[in-house]
């Protein structure tokens, strides 16, 4: 009986481990016709080379992509060369590396595929002939793909040429990725610089009105203003903690209250458990600014703003609510889809984009609103996400 249980338990544990491992690395092996098999293998190798190529011509990634590209071409040696050096050499005959850079110079100059005969003193060196094809991004040669073999052949030249064109496509995609990232970063920088002139003017005049009547309050407000601008103009780091972000929101609200007085009512409900959560820099403050603007605009009576941050297992749920004029859902949808400019909200689209980039498409902004019925914006942030740390 005991033994039976032991075996059963061991099997159960084993099965669970296998099941999880299987889920993480699933492979398929079905029966294929010859043509399907060749297509499958070629495309599979090609796509294995794609992710490292997307990282660009940097040594570590290039080494990986060179391995797959060599499989694709079936040559004894293959090299990826940039303007100054051999970034990756796959296969034998590595002593030809210096020579390869020299040969590549010609390809860089002409932008055409060239074949070279190479004489080698070493008897078992597999490198006798080389085909160098340019890797181009937007019409500019950024690197050279060098395929080596024992015998010269027209087939090798054509195949190398095609592989180089395919690899160029991947490098162009990499460039596209980079420019998209640069765009988002530029938007964040713009967001930082985007403390509205109205806000500065209003804050300063509100502070000025206190200077004589309540110098202590004026001093506090000035310090708030200084801290708030320092945080917003901060240069380093894309991430911060929720507690830092809330602190900045507090300073912002203190300044707005100096202006609106009792009309601006704020309710906060913050679960202390989520304060250490890492969030993208300036992902909440613009939402609060939005809420103040929408909550107070065109209103005589008081406007009410509620900020909630709740603990939800491995996520933090944050909502920002106002009872103001609301937004037009259709216009908002266009803004979030990136179709219109900054009309519907300060950087809503940018925040949505950054959240999706950091945490995946499940974590975009959720906005509940209608004309005249207020706005509620919900943000979900996972407590842990690989590669994301507050700085």
């Amino acid at each position: 009986m005991t033994a039976l249980w032991a075996v059963g338990a061991a099997l159960l544990v084993g099965a669970a481990v296998v099941a999880v491992l299987w889920r993480t690395s699933r492979t398929r092996n079905d029966f294929l016709t010859e043509a399907q098999r060749i297509t499958f293998e070629t495309l599979h190798t090609a796509w294995s080379a794609a992710p490292p190529l997307r990282a660009g011509l940097v040594p570590e990634a290039a080494k990986k992509s060179a391995r797959h590209l060599r499989t694709l071409l079936g040559t004894p040696a293959l090299a990826l060369i940039d303007e100054t050096e051999v970034v990756a050499w796959e296969g034998g005959g590595e002593h030809h590396a210096a020579q390869a850079v020299q040969l590549a110079g010609e390809v860089f100059a002409t932008g055409r595929t060239r074949a070279f005969d190479i004489s080698c003193a070493e008897p078992d060196c597999p490198v006798h002939t080389a085909v160098l094809a340019p890797l181009t991004v937007e019409g500019r040669v950024v690197g050279v793909l060098a395929a080596y073999s024992r015998e010269p052949s027209a087939g090798l030249v054509r195949a190398t040429n095609e592989v180089a064109r395919w690899a160029s496509g991947q490098l162009e995609l990499a460039e596209l990725d980079r420019s998209r990232t640069r765009l988002v970063e530029a938007e964040v920088r713009a967001l930082r610089a985007q403390i509205s002139p109205h806000f500065i003017y209003n804050s300063l005049s509100a502070i000025a009105s206190y200077v004589r009547t309540n110098p202590e309050r004026a001093r506090t407000l000035l310090l708030d203003f200084a801290d708030f601008t320092r945080y917003s103009f901060r240069r380093a780091g894309d991430f911060t903690t929720l507690s830092e972000e809330l602190k900045s929101i507090d300073q912002y609200l203190a300044l707005e209250r100096a202006r609106f007085g009792e009309r601006l009512q704020v309710t906060l409900q913050i679960a202390p458990e989520v304060l250490p959560v890492t969030v993208p820099f300036l992902c909440l403050q613009p939402l609060v600014e939005n809420a103040v603007r929408h909550g107070m605009e065109g209103k005589v009576g008081p406007g009410h703003i509620a900020i909630h941050a709740a603990d939800a297992g491995d996520e933090a749920h944050i909502t920002i609510e106002d009872d103001g004029i609301g937004m037009d859902p259709e216009a908002l949808r266009r803004t979030l889809a990136g179709q219109v400019g900054e009309t519907a909200g300060i950087g809503l689209g940018n925040i949505d984009e950054r959240l999706r980039r950091c945490y995946g498409d499940d974590y975009g902004l959720v906005v509940e609103t209608a004309q005249g019925l207020g706005t509620k914006i919900s943000v979900r942030v996972p407590k842990y996400q690989p590669g994301i740390h507050a700085s």
Partner: protein, 573 residues
């Protein structure tokens, strides 16, 4: 024992928990309180919350039961439960917090950047969590049985339902203040009755706890047997009662000769005051003097058992899934260390109490040695010693505290287990995924509890610790302190330590205690599985140097450099 007060106490605790879950802590604050609202959880609150979540059935009823039955060797349980935090403090607390990980699988991913290491760590965290949840349910069954006489499965079901409902409705999701309150509730529930018990013991003449005589019934006592039990009488005992003893019908006065006797289920025997207590056959028969000496617990290889227990508890604490998630609430590594230090103090104080229950139990509740329900000693003692309505109220307080212990530990465990299940196994994110996972997380131990033999609660918790010490502890300690650990080494080490420990645990749980020589090695596996896990992880890592995860130095700087030095790497999107 009059059960009314006890039932009321248990109901109050269960209802209170459910209400807090349903309504949450709806405390709204206005901006003037922003400073309060934005203040992070202080180490004191956090430490109390860890204590509240950590002090489980094993601590509340199990430790006293084991000491009651087996003597001071078992003091290593409370010592180990506490000292585990010392190891956590010295080796793990601050780097773990700085890693930014919320759960153990998160840490595995942050340190090794490998989905496979993460997957293995998740499976092990699940196994440990279930192994830990099981005794909580059992303990609840025992408490409800002792208080009301309900069958064992009722208590388990009550705890399972209350906790599941609570977790699903979104309440008690590790709300720090609720859990912190739980610690102080448990401390009160175990301390206040003990003060009265000790005073009463003193007033009744302070009988010697370590007299050179066997435990005796201190007054006329009737003992009910729910299961067929083999007892051993050292001296002839006379008794009256109804039931079946050694296959013969007993109705009225009878006696037991020296030797083994089998008492059938449903028997109710009444022993006169001063009669020596026949012991259930699995508990060593000792005089109170022998009981008070170490190495007399009657286990095989007692020294091995003690060392194994020390290794399991000292190293296992850091691998408990519900303890680790609490560290995330600390704002930085320094606060994590301070919290751990305070936890050490809080736990140390709490664990002063259970040994006293165990010792006094031998004077006042020796019939538990006969039925084998030794875990009930904490619950029975107050009403037995103090007597009257006061005694029953104190008994109710203990029962309520015990129930609070099951509820808080179970809910903490369930939240972390459901998190692991939904994220790593079922891959269902969002609220629905979490709910489905919660139900699965509770069904497994509930099903297991029906298969389980009679293993003392603290022993079973010890097994969870052993698995943690053999698998996740090497991952944490070597992962934090060595740059050489490779992904393959990490997986190999976790499996080499964890799988044997888990298998040994399953065998012990399903078959109960046995007599074979190897039983000690199965019931207390940590002394061989934990070194195995460490050695395999390090050796395999040395053999596969090419699989050191890239960027390991980057990760190490982040784990070890204090936050305010500005050394932390600036990871870009």
């Amino acid at each position: 024992m009059n059960s009314t007060y006890g039932i009321v106490a248990v109901l109050v605790v269960a209802l209170g928990t459910a209400l807090i879950g349903a309504y949450g802590l709806r405390v709204s604050r206005t901006t003037s309180d922003f400073f309060v609202a934005s203040r992070t959880v202080s180490p004191w609150w956090n430490a109390s919350a860890i204590g509240g979540e950590y002090l489980s059935a094993a601590s509340f009823v199990g430790v006293a039961g084991l000491i009651f039955a087996y003597g001071p060797d078992m003091l290593w349980f409370p010592v180990g439960y506490t000292a585990g935090y010392l190891v956590l403090l010295a080796l793990v607390a601050a780097p773990l917090r700085r890693s930014g990980a919320y759960t153990l699988p998160d840490f595995a991913e942050a340190r090794f950047g490998s989905p496979v290491v993460r997957a293995v760590a998740s499976v092990l965290a699940l196994g440990i969590g279930w192994l830990y949840l099981l005794p909580q349910l059992q303990g609840a069954g025992l408490t409800l049985h002792t208080v009301t006489g309900a069958p064992d499965w009722v208590g388990a079901l009550v705890v399972a339902v209350v906790v599941t409902g609570n977790v699903i409705s979104g309440g008690m999701r590790s709300v720090t203040f609720v859990q912190a309150f739980q610690y102080w509730l448990k401390l009160t529930a175990i301390t206040v009755p003990l003060v009265f018990v000790v005073l009463a013991w003193h007033a009744q003449g302070a009988r010697d706890l370590a007299a050179p005589s066997s435990p005796q019934f201190s007054r006329e006592t009737s003992v009910s047997f729910d299961t067929s039990t083999t007892v051993h009488a050292e001296q002839p005992v006379a008794f009256t009662g109804t039931g079946v003893v050694d296959g013969a019908r007993v109705d009225g006065p009878a006696s037991m000769a020296v030797g083994e006797h089998t008492v059938a289920a449903g028997s109710r025997l009444t022993f006169p005051a001063g009669a020596p207590v026949p012991h259930v056959s699995t508990i060593e028969r000792t005089t109170n003097e022998q009981w008070a000496l170490p190495m007399r617990s009657g286990e095989q290889f007692p020294l091995y058992g003690v060392y194994s227990l020390i290794i399991a508890t000292f190293l296992g604490t850091m691998g408990l899934p519900h303890v680790i998630v609490r560290f995330y609430t600390n704002p930085n590594g320094r606060a994590a260390r301070r919290t751990t230090l305070i936890v050490l103090g809080l736990l140390g104080f709490f664990y002063l109490m259970p040994p006293l229950y165990g010792a006094l139990g031998r004077l006042y509740a020796p019939e538990l040695l006969m039925t084998g329900d030794t875990d009930a000693v904490v619950l029975v003692l107050p009403s037995r010693v103090v007597g009257g309505v006061g005694g029953q109220l104190l008994g109710a307080l203990v029962a309520g505290g015990a129930f609070a212990a099951f509820l808080s530990t179970s809910s903490g465990l369930m939240v972390s287990l459901a998190g692991v299940l939904s994220r790593d196994v079922l891959r269902l994110r969002g609220v629905r995924g979490f709910r489905v996972s919660t139900v699965i997380a509770v069904l497994v131990p509930l099903a297991m509890s029906s298969l389980v033999g009679r293993v003392p609660v603290a022993d079973m918790v010890g097994l969870a610790f052993a698995v943690a010490a053999s698998s996740l502890c090497p991952l944490l300690v070597l992962g934090i302190w060595s740059t050489r650990i490779t992904t393959i080494g990490a997986v190999a080490g976790m499996l080499a330590g964890g799988v044997p420990a888990l298998a040994a645990g399953m065998v012990t749980i399903s078959s109960g205690s046995g007599d074979a020589w190897y039983h000690a090695f199965l019931a207390r596996p940590a002394a061989w599985t934990a070194p195995l896990g460490f050695v395999v992880m390090y050796a395999v890592s040395l053999l596969t140097p090419r699989r050191v995860p890239p960027g390991v130095n980057h990760v190490m700087v982040r784990l070890h450099a204090p936050e305010n030095l500005g050394l932390r790497s600036q990871d870009r999107l």
